[in-house]
Each structure stands twice: as C-alpha cells, then as structure tokens.
C-alpha cells in the first residue's frame, strides 16, 4: 500500500485488530484520560495550509511506554464544493482510516475517543504522530476529491486540549441540534440510494431528514456527503418536488424516483405509511413494521430477534414477504433509527399504533417512545400470541385500543 511511503502498512485487513494492554506502546484518550477529542472542520481556503501536519506537545517517541495520554486530533479541510453539513461524515472517516493502519486502533468518537498503538508498529518506525497525520492526509485526499486542502494537528499538551475542548463540545452540540431539528420541509433535496439494486433490482431507498435508509447505514447527511463526493455514484440527489400528501409523506419527486428506478413497477411511494404505497424494501432492512389485524395496530421486529413474534411468524418468514423491492401493504422494512423520526409511521398513528416489540428494542428506544406509552407496548416477555396481546393491551390501557388516538388527516 503506497509502498514505502509510510513506516507501516495500511489497508482494510488491519481493521478490527485487537491491541491488548500488554502489546500497547501508548494509548491516547480512552477511559483513563479526561482531556481528549477529535474534530473535523471545514474552513475557508486561506485558513488551511495544505498537507501541513503539526504536533503540539510531546510525540510518541518520548512518551513513556504503556502510558495513557491526552489527545486532540484536529483536521481542517477546505474545498469549494465542501458544505458544512457533511463535517460529521468527514469526521467519522477518522475511525475508518485510523483503523486501516497496521498496529493501530481507534474507538468511539468526539470527546470519547480512544486510540492505541502497538509495540510492533512502533518498532517498525511508527514513532511520531506526524506519520499518522500523513497517512490521514493520504487517505482523505485519495478518497475525497473535493477536499482541496487539508491540514492535521495533534495536540498532546493537556493544557492546550483543556482550552479547546469546550469549543469542540459546543460544535458537537450544535451539530446534533441541527440534525435533530432538520425536517423534510427544511430541505429541497432528498437522496436516493441504489446500492441495493445490485441485489434487488426494483428497490430504491428514498432518504430524507426524517427517514434514514432501511439498512440504517445512510442518513440524509451521509447521503448528501456521498452525493457531493461522487455526483455520478449510486447515491443521487432527488429534487423533493411538490408535496402531494403531507401526512403520508408523498412527494412528487419521490414518486418520480420510484417510477424511474423500479423500472416502472411503482409510480407512488408514501414515505411515512405502511398502507397504500409503502416504501419498498431491499433485503437489508434492520427491522420490520408488521400489521396485526386483530389489534388493528403494528408490531416491530428486528433482525436479531430469535423465535416467533406475537403473530406466530419469526422475522425470517416475514422478511421474505417484505423484501425484494416490492410494495407490500402492512409490511414495512425500516431502520431502527427511524423509530426516532418525528414522522415515524406518521399517517398510521406513529408510536401510538405500535403494540408489540422485542424487549431489547423497547429498552434501546425508550427515550424515543412517548412517555404515556411506557409499559403499554407488549414484548415477548408479556405475551406470546395475539389473544394474549389483545388482553394485554386492554389491561394496560393502550391509547390506540382505547380509541384515544386520532389519525392525522
């Protein structure tokens, strides 16, 4: 790999390497260190010196063997086509790239970052953070053409990190706020992802700020970044077009997309309903929203759930009915993160129409579940069949069963 340029090899074969404490030359960040963060920012061109790597504070070769050190990793990039929205996507590349390095691992992100270098790679000559910076610059510029200038700064001086940390935390906070607050109404473009068409020819994912791709791997910001990086690639911008049905989430642009990419199989798509013209599913969805006629409501089952759901079918069986790029009313492949969307199944009653889900999912998404529903959605521990489910819902006083939920019109 870029033979001889760097002291150690780089490549995907090094992802997932475990570096035990005994093999560790030095670690940066991690649970033993309070002052640590990583941040990628898009800057104006004159604020970035291309290919500059700076190390502020002691470097690897002078740090005590086996020690845990503070760290700030700051990457500044500039480019006419780079938009601020994709900063988090660029920042997540740090995780990927650093794990490509032989004998180096990277965990977590932001102010929780944790990196380790092993003794073998230190022995091969990876003795300076400067080398890491050079590798990062090599990978960023190799992958992302729209980066015109890039500089990398490592800080190991705890006083300086302490000074910058609150500013980084503020950046993270404002990014999160923006991501959480962004609505379909705020943007002009959605993104389509055709990656799965290589396996399921009539499926197309329509990604909006309120609907992450079914696989859970690509949100609207990822879509935007991917499109900016490769405008001819499998992720394309979709002009949103007029809104036809704000409740079901039908947009003229999404309909046009469905028609074109399904090879004429479908001409309408509701982004937030499991009825009528539901979003199609490839084979990669993380979970299925399935209709339970006896309760006139929905269950959710995730891919890892073993055994039968409340309607007697396991995930696998229902997945067969859901997948393959078809519109199947009452079966909707979703990413779990869609449960956090303010438009989650909006037309059908959203969370208030959910009556069953595995316990682990209920725990994981407790914060997204409306407070007045807590304890009212059954899990596999509460019921094993539909009769028991109906009795449970009556007993628990589920608002949908009590007729307290009004569907939007």
């Amino acid at each position: 790999m870029a033979d001889g340029i760097f002291p150690v090899d780089i490549g995907p074969q090094y992802e997932g390497e475990v570096i035990r404490k005994a093999d560790m030359r030095v670690e940066f960040g991690g649970p033993n260190v309070r002052t640590k963060f990583e941040l990628v920012s898009i800057k104006p061109p004159d604020g970035v010196t291309h290919e500059k790597v700076e190390v502020i504070g002691p470097d690897i070769d002078v740090l005590p063997e086996g020690s845990s050190q503070p760290i700030a990793l700051i990457v500044d990039v500039a480019g006419a086509r780079l938009e601020r929205d994709i900063e988090p996507v660029l920042e997540r590349r740090l995780h990927l790239y650093l794990n490509y390095i032989e004998g180096f691992y990277h965990m977590n992100q932001r102010q929780d970052v944790w990196m380790r270098l092993n003794k073998a790679s230190f022995g091969k000559g990876l003795k300076s953070l400067r080398s890491l910076g050079e590798i990062l610059i090599f990978l960023y510029t190799s992958e992302i053409d729209i980066i015109e200038k890039i500089q990398v700064t490592f800080i190991t001086d705890p006083v300086k990190i302490e000074e910058l940390l609150p500013k980084a935390v503020e950046v993270y906070r404002s990014r999160d706020e923006k991501i959480r607050g962004l609505r379909e109404a705020d943007v002009e473009e959605f993104y389509s992802c055709a990656l799965c068409q290589s396996f399921a020819p009539t499926h197309i994912c329509c990604i909006t700020p309120e609907r992450i791709a079914n696989c859970g791997a690509i949100n609207w910001f990822d879509g935007k970044a991917a499109y900016q990086m490769d405008p001819e690639g499998p992720i394309q911008a979709v002009p949103k077009g007029d809104i036809i049905d704000p409740v079901r989430g039908e947009y003229r642009g999404a309909d046009r997309l469905a028609l074109e990419k399904s090879m004429g199989t479908y001409d309408r798509v509701f982004l937030h309903s499991a009825f009528g013209y539901p979003h199609t599913s490839c084979g990669c969805f993380q979970a299925i929203c399935f209709y339970i006629p006896e309760a006139d409501a929905f269950g959710i089952v995730n891919r890892d759930f073993e055994g039968d759901t409340v309607i007697g079918s396991p995930f696998t069986e229902m997945a067969g009915d859901t997948s393959g790029g078809r519109q199947v009313e009452g079966f909707l492949g979703i990413a779990l993160e869609y449960l956090r969307s303010p438009s989650f199944l909006k037309a059908d009653g959203g969370w208030y129409r959910i009556v069953w889900m595995p316990r682990v999912i209920q725990e994981m998404y407790r914060d997204a579940c409306p407070m007045d529903l807590h304890g009212k959605i059954a899990t596999e521990n509460d019921v094993t069949n539909v009769d028991e489910l109906v009795a449970f819902l009556d007993r628990a006083g589920h608002p949908w069963v009590k007729g307290e939920v009004k569907l939007p019109v």
Binding site: S142, L195, C196, P201, G283, G307, S323, G324
Partner: protein, 695 residues
C-alpha cells in the same frame, strides 16, 4: 424439451405443483436438455480447455486410436470429445458415489424412522433446501420426499451414463452440458443426503457455535481401545456410538474417524476424535493405534485391508460399495461373527447394528492383547488442533444480516474451501489461505477434508483458525459446514442470497438463479487437494450455478478447465435496465474453473474471482483493494490487469489511487458504465426472459 401431457401431469404431481408457495418456474424436474441453452451460453464465454492425459483413446473396441495432432479415432471422436466424454463419465461417477451414500442413509432412516419423518433443520432455517427447490421445484417436507428425489436423480444418472457410451454423444458442448447436468444433480443429492442426516440423526443445525473437537493423531488416547472409522458410512458411525452409549462404554473406547464419516461422527458425538485428513490415512494405519478399522464406502486407499492387517488390527467392511473381496457373514449371530473376526481379522458385515457390536467387542479384546506404542513424533503428523463441528446450512437470518455489508463491500466475498487434502504445498497452507481471507473480512466456509486439514495449523497459543475467528456466516467468520456433502450448503447459501435479497422465486427457476449468482454474488471455491470424482462434479456443479472454482494441480488428471482468453473473450452482457447489450470488457469472473499450484497465486486469484459485474462502486473498490494488495504482497507489484476492473474513478481503491492513475493513463483507460442489472439473459436463446430476471 417439451413434455407431453402425461409427463407434465406426472411432473406436476411429483412437485405438488398445486402448492402455492411460489410460482413454478420454467424447468421443473429438468431433463438433460432443459438447461442446455444456459450451458451453451456459459461455454461461449468460458470455453472448455482440454489437457488430455494421453493422446490415445481406448474407450471402445475399435481402438486403441491415436488422436494426436488433430486425428480422429475409428469412431470419429477427436481428442476434445474423448476428453469431454471422460469428463462426463467422471462427473457421473461422482454423482453415483454421492447417490449411493444418500441412498444408504435414506433407506436406513426410512426403515427406522419412517417416510413421514418431517425434514427439520431447526427454527432458523426457512429455506430448507435451496438446491432441491431451485432444481426440481419441490419443497421437501419429509424423508419420503427425499427418497422420491433420489429416484428422479437415479433416472437422470441412467440417461447421462447412456450418452457416455461409445458411439453416442460426441459433441463437446453436449458432453459438457451433460457433465454439468450430472454435477448440478450432485449438489442436489448432496443437499438431500445432508438434510436426511441432520433430520434423522439430530446433527447440529440452526446454530453457529457448534462444539470444538480434537483433530490430529496426538489427540487420540491410545491407552484406550481404538476403533477407526474410514469412508462415508454415516449409518455405521451412528450405530457404533449408539451401541457404546447403550452399553455404558462411551468414553471407555476411543472412536476416531477419517474421511467424510469423521465429520458425521463428531456431529453425532463431539467427544469422538478425528485422526487427521484422509491424506494421512496410510500414516495413521501404520502407526498401529487402531485396534479395529471399520470401512464403508470410498476412502481413496484400495489397499486399506492389507495395511490394516499389517498393522495387526481387525478390519470390518460395512458396505457393499467396498466389499474388499471378503465373505459376507452378516447372517451369523454376533458371537459367531466376533469369533470369525478375531480369527480371520477381516470380515464383510453390511449390517450396521451387528457391525457396531462386533467392532466394540473386538476392540476390547484386541486392545488387551496388543501393546501399542504412541505414534512417532516425526513427519509433521503429530499435530493436533481444534475443529468446529460441521454446522449444516447457513441460517436465513445470517444471510439477511450480511446483505448490507455485501452490498457496501465491507464483506468483499465468500471463499469456499472444499474437497480432499493432499495439497500441492504444505498442509498448513490451507489454514493460511483461510486466514488470509478471514482477516480481510471475507466469509470463509470450509467443508470436507479441507475443513479438517485447516484445524491442524495452530498459532503460538495452540489455537486453530476455528478458535481465532467467529463461527458465523459474517465478515471474518470461519465456518465448517460439515462433510463433503455439506458443500451443497455453500452453493445453497448463494441461492439463498438470490431468494432473500431479491425475493427471486427459486422454484424450478434454475437458469434465473444461476444468472443472478454469476453476475451478482461474489463467491468462489477452492478445491486444492487431490480430487475425487465427486469433487470434479462439485466444481462443475458450482460452475453451472455461476460460481467459479480453482482446483489444484492434481486435478490435471481430469484434463478439463473452463477458461476465458485475454483479448479474445467477449464480455458483453445485457443491461437489464436499458435492455441494451453492453460490452463491459471486464473479465469477471475471469475463469469458471482454473488450475493453480502456488499458494500466493491461489490467494490472488480467489480475490480476483470475487469481483462481479454488478459490484457497487464501494464494493468494487474494496474488492480491488484486496486483489491489488494481495498481488503486491505475493508478487511484489501491482497487477497488470487492474484497469480492466475499474469502471469509474470511484472504483479505484483509495490506498492505490495515486499509483493506479498512472497505470490507467498508460492503458488508455476510459470510463465505463456501472451496471446495476447485468444479465446473460437476452444474449442467448432461452425461454427465460428479462422480465423473469427483474421479477
């Protein structure tokens, strides 16, 4: 070939066409001609390449004829047709071997459990029989169904063998098509056999983390009486373990397996041992550890009997398939047989229950009277390692889970390592090859003797690859599927991908499914050791299904490869979206079956063979990263053909972008379209249409 009304009715009855689980595709219960057009299309791109072992043909009584320098024999056959006929015969022999194995097993299970016993693979396997569904069009529900499936395949075998007679078929393309038919049916019957075994004997299924068992002569406790099982007679192995359990002798006698039966033995009884791959059989016999050797079915060594006698052990042939010239005394009672065995030291006893009792009693007696030295520590045969017990079919949930990573390229492909041992290089090479791909996050699946050989190389902590990598069908997983017949679950997993990702109907839809796999599923096989006939059939069956295979130099004996030619082969496919034929210029997969002797060359070729025309840019970039990285690792330079696989700049791996750009410039590279619906359908005559492909 059109069926008449009666034949159609019977076929529909056979597959229960009225069951509405999926529409019946174009080729239910295919005969010799039904998939011929597909074969001819494959052979147009990947042409048969013959390496005859001899220029002389002595297949019929007209000859011997000299076929050198383009001459034809008295019957008119030329060298290629002779070799193709031999290929067909070999594939038929392979099919027959597996059929016999399946027949013995299913007959036994029908006898003891009844035809109604439901096929049961556990709760995580919904598509129980991808091959049987795809080839025949039936969902096998019971042992009785599996039995009927064998009958259909036996009929086909008779017809195939008839055409292999002298004076019959001499067209190379038809001989090859028939070899492919026999080979497709080999996968099908392998699947039937393993479904029966898992169902009938409750072998592990729907579970990834099966038990870790000991492999290697060093793991055998020679202080105990030792019974060595060799061959593929699963029934005898199961009966032996049952006998030990019922008589309270389990743990007091060391039961050791070699060959296919070894896998089944440990699936049934994880405290049993495997002495090593079959290539170590002569050494194991001569080491004298065995008190009794039981042999059923094939085992490569035809002098097993004399080797066993020379080592002072008793020999029981358990199956008519290898009767060894011995007298059949199964009508005698057990005491009489035991006396005869102790006196003569060898008997034919095709009654599994009696064989079990006699073997155990003989082992107890003989062990007490023999003094056994521990095996010598020379010749590298003293290794031991852990192997995970064969786990049967890949679970549907696992297939679904790898969907996104396969699409995104984080899993670059599936590498299947199967077949016999006795590799061209060191025995540890097979573990090295598996590990190279596991650490690069491919899914590595093994079966048969290769799965056993891979257990014998351990790291400095004494751990084999089965202990170092997860047992899941997922990125970086290393899986043992089971014995040779379990190889069908590997090709079956490729079929499941078509069903699960694309919801493609499998039922009697072979051509569409094979086209899907050929163009979309980055899986390839390696059968690097000495190949038996069934392994040629296994490889050829993979080829018909669109899966390329690399074989080792010992397969030169079979004298036929399917190769493309640089600069000559037409790599056009139909773009299902634009309905235009597109010349991709991309040799993917480059060959359907190729022969390589060098470990590095094998590794690089496997990485290259995982590329498919439908790869997403991310997927292609990852696959190229590994191909180029491995090429540099083993050959010290970038591959000269990397540019052929780059369609757009986004395909270029980031690690080599700057270097590759120079190569692209020199080669006059130009951007090519990235096809998301490449297919061969529409480029040849077929009843299958583009609508079937899009579904």
């Amino acid at each position: 070939m059109a069926r008449n009304e009666r034949q159609t009715r019977e076929a529909n009855d056979f597959i229960r066409a009225g069951d509405s689980w999926e529409p019946v595709g174009h080729t239910p219960l295919p005969g010799i001609l039904e998939l011929r057009n597909w074969d001819r299309r494959l052979l147009q791109t990947w042409k048969p390449f013959y390496v005859p072992v001899t220029d002389k043909c002595s297949l019929c009584t007209y000859g011997e004829c000299d076929l050198s320098e383009g001459r034809r024999g008295s019957c008119g056959v030329d060298s290629s047709a002779m070799q193709a006929r031999l290929t067909l015969r070999t594939c038929c022999e392979g099919l027959a071997k597996i059929l016999a194995q399946a027949r013995r097993l299913i007959d036994y299970l029908v006898e003891v459990k009844g035809r109604e016993l439901p096929v049961d693979l556990g709760d995580k396997i919904g598509i129980e029989a991808p091959h049987i569904r795809t080839v025949l069009g039936i969902k096998p529900a019971s042992l009785g169904d599996l039995e009927r499936i064998l009958c259909y395949i036996e009929d086909q075998l008779a017809l195939l063998l008839a055409s292999a007679n002298t004076g019959f078929e001499a067209a190379v393309s038809d001989l090859e098509s028939k070899a492919m038919h026999a080979s497709m049916l080999t996968h099908t019957v392998m699947e039937a056999a393993d479904l029966a075994a898992i169902t009938g004997f409750a072998f592990p299924s729907s579970k990834a983390d099966t038990a870790l068992i000991d492999v290697g002569l060093a793991a055998v406790d020679t202080k105990k009486p030792v019974i060595l099982l060799v061959g593929d007679d699963t029934v005898s192995a199961v009966c032996l373990v049952d006998y030990l359990r019922h008589s309270g002798l389990e743990g007091k006698i060391e039961v050791v397996g070699m060959g296919p039966v070894a896998h089944d033995l440990v699936r049934y009884c994880p405290t049993a041992k495997i002495a090593g791959p079959l290539s170590a059989l002569p050494f194991v016999l001569r080491s004298g550890i065995a008190d009794v050797v039981m042999c059923g079915g094939g085992n490569l060594l035809t002098d097993l009997l004399s080797e066993t006698r020379a080592a002072g052990a008793a020999f029981i042939a358990t199956d008519a398939g290898t009767a060894c010239g011995l007298e059949d005394i199964s009508s005698d009672n057990t005491e009489e047989i035991l006396i005869e065995l102790l006196r003569e030291k060898s008997i034919l006893l095709p009654d599994p229950s009696k064989a079990a009792a006699v073997a155990v009693e003989a082992a107890l007696k003989l062990s007490a009277s023999r003094s056994k030295a521990p095996p010598p520590e020379s010749s590298g045969q003293h290794e031991a390692g852990k192997m995970r017990v064969g786990r049967g079919p890949v679970m549907d949930t696992e297939i679904r889970k790898v969907g996104a990573p396969l699409v995104l390229g984080t899993i670059p492909g599936v590498i299947a390592i199967v077949g016999g041992s006795n590799y061209p290089g060191s025995p540890g090479d097979i573990a090295d090859i598996a590990e190279e791909f596991a650490k690069r996050k491919y899914i590595v699946v093994l079966a048969g003797d290769s799965a056993i050989a891979a257990a014998l190389k351990t790291d400095n902590e004494g751990k084999s690859i089965y202990e170092r990598y997860p047992p899941d069908f997922d990125a970086g997983g290393v899986i043992n599927m089971g014995p040779g017949v379990s190889s069908a679950h590997i090709s079956g997993a490729a079929i499941k991908i078509a069903s699960i990702f694309a919801a493609l109907p499998l039922r009697a839809n072979y051509e569409v499914v094979a086209d899907y796999i050929l163009n979309r599923v980055g899986a390839c096989g390696l059968a690097w050791g000495a190949c038996g006939e069934e392994e040629l059939a296994l490889a050829t069956g993979c080829n018909r299904l669109g899966i390329p295979v690399i074989v080792g130099p010992r397969c030169i004996k079979y004298g036929r490869l399917y190769l493309s030619k640089p600069g000559e082969t037409d790599w056009s496919v139909m773009d299902g979206r634009s309905k235009q034929v597109v010349d991709t210029g991309e040799p993917s997969p480059e060959h359907l079956v190729n022969l390589l002797a060098d470990k590095g060359a094998v590794i690089v070729a496997l990485a290259k063979l995982c590329m498919r025309k439908n790869d997403t840019p991310q997927g292609r970039a990852t696959k190229l990263t590994h191909y180029i990285g491995l090429h540099r690792q083993y050959f010290g330079k970038l591959p000269a053909d990397a540019h052929l696989f780059i369609r757009r700049a986004s395909d270029i791996p980031i690690f080599f972008k700057k270097e590759l750009q120079a190569q692209l410039g020199e080669s006059g590279w130009q951007e090519k379209p990235v096809l998301s619906l490449p297919t061969l359908v529409g480029t040849y005559r077929s009843q299958v249409t583009l609508d079937d492909v899009v579904h």
